[in-house]
């Protein structure tokens, strides 16, 4: 299994390449590319959130609690007094950072469903939905942000699988096959978890932003042409445009 630094560095590297490519293809603006890079890197840390003592869980809950605190301040700033805001914001922060974290540590199991392909897709969907419904972003940017989280997540799962091969002894470690999987089916609880996640995907899709633009921008013949346009200098001049 790769460690925190490896996951962080590889996810950041992959996110930098992809967000710079999207920027160059004029799919996102420079500011959006920065957020996309950040989300891709975060996606690379998310799968280890189910490991109770990992650095990832602390980082994730720090970010989540800060984000929710800022959110509550935004929402209530026009109606609450300063004292009310401080009380509510502190309550929200402490609840998420400590109560939620402890609860999550108790219910999660490392290398459970969190390390799976459907959960990687689910995260992307959730981010796309939150981007549009909560932050009023357009469909293309919402989906790009969702895509970046899923990309980072996949990078993590692939790295874990690569690290499960013992190249010296030329054998597969016990952890092989536990990261990049489609579900868990060994016992009834695992089967229910898998079914719930697969049912959530179409449900969330029904409230997700429109996919037309992201299909054209990333997964179409035109996207491929835009990509080939930016590989080499279009005017034949190198570095002096």
């Amino acid at each position: 299994m790769a460690n925190f630094n490896t996951h962080f560095n590889v996810a950041a590297g992959a996110s930098a390449v992809v967000s710079a490519t999207l920027l160059s293809m004029e799919v996102v603006s420079p500011q959006e590319a920065v957020v996309a890079f950040f989300l891709g890197t975060l996606g690379g840390l998310l799968p280890d959130v189910d490991s109770p003592r990992s650095t990832s869980i602390k980082v994730a809950f720090n970010i989540l609690s800060l984000l929710m605190t800022i959110l509550i301040i935004f929402v209530k700033s026009s109606t609450y007094s300063l004292v009310e805001m401080v009380v509510v914001a502190s309550l929200v922060f402490v609840t998420i950072r400590y109560a939620f974290l402890e609860f999550f540590r108790k219910i999660s199991k490392h290398r459970g469903m969190f390390h799976s392909i459907p959960v990687a897709s689910l995260w992307g969907l959730v981010i796309a939905i939150v981007s549009q419904w909560f932050f009023d972003l357009n469909s293309l940017v919402s989906w790009v942000y969702g895509f970046m989280i899923t990309l980072g997540y996949f990078v993590h799962l692939i790295l874990d699988e690569i690290y499960s091969v013992d190249l010296g002894n030329r054998r597969m470690k016990k952890s092989s096959g536990t990261a990049l999987k489609f579900g868990m089916f060994k016992n009834r609880q695992q089967q229910i978890q898998t079914i719930v996640i697969y049912l959530l995907i179409p449900l969330l899709f029904s409230i997700a932003p429109d996919t037309e633009l992201v299909q054209t921008a990333l997964f179409s013949k035109e996207a491929w042409l835009s990509f080939t346009d930016i590989i080499l200098p279009y005017d034949g001049k190198w570095f002096f445009h």
Partner: protein
Amino acid sequence: MKKRLSILALSVLFVGCVPAPKPTIGLGTGIGSSTQNSDLEYGRPPRNYASAIRDYFSSRLKHPQGANFQISAPKRAYKRKGLAYGGDVEWKGWLVKADIAEQSRTGRYHSPKPHLVLFSGDQIVEDILGSSHKLITIVDK
């Protein structure tokens, strides 16, 4: 006690995320007073909206030269704020759909990108990339 505190904190957290009630919208029954109410709510339709859209995008597109516009008729619509900002109705007016085909930096034409252009009177207040948005409701079908 710990459990009660957690429940209280959770309730406070989610109260902030509950969207505001939907607005009552006069759909215009054809009877004089309803139409008038509706006009008061949404204002009159924008005049010269096509040229307003071309002017607006001439300074916003990356490659405005040679851009092709396909502009549809205005429709009454309203838009909510994102739930993170309270979810209230922030705009009511006329929405115009515009498909804009722009050239890339190599001179190749992209396929047209849909935009939702929001008007208050004759003024453009916002444009949104895409043919739909979850926070926008088009009243006229």
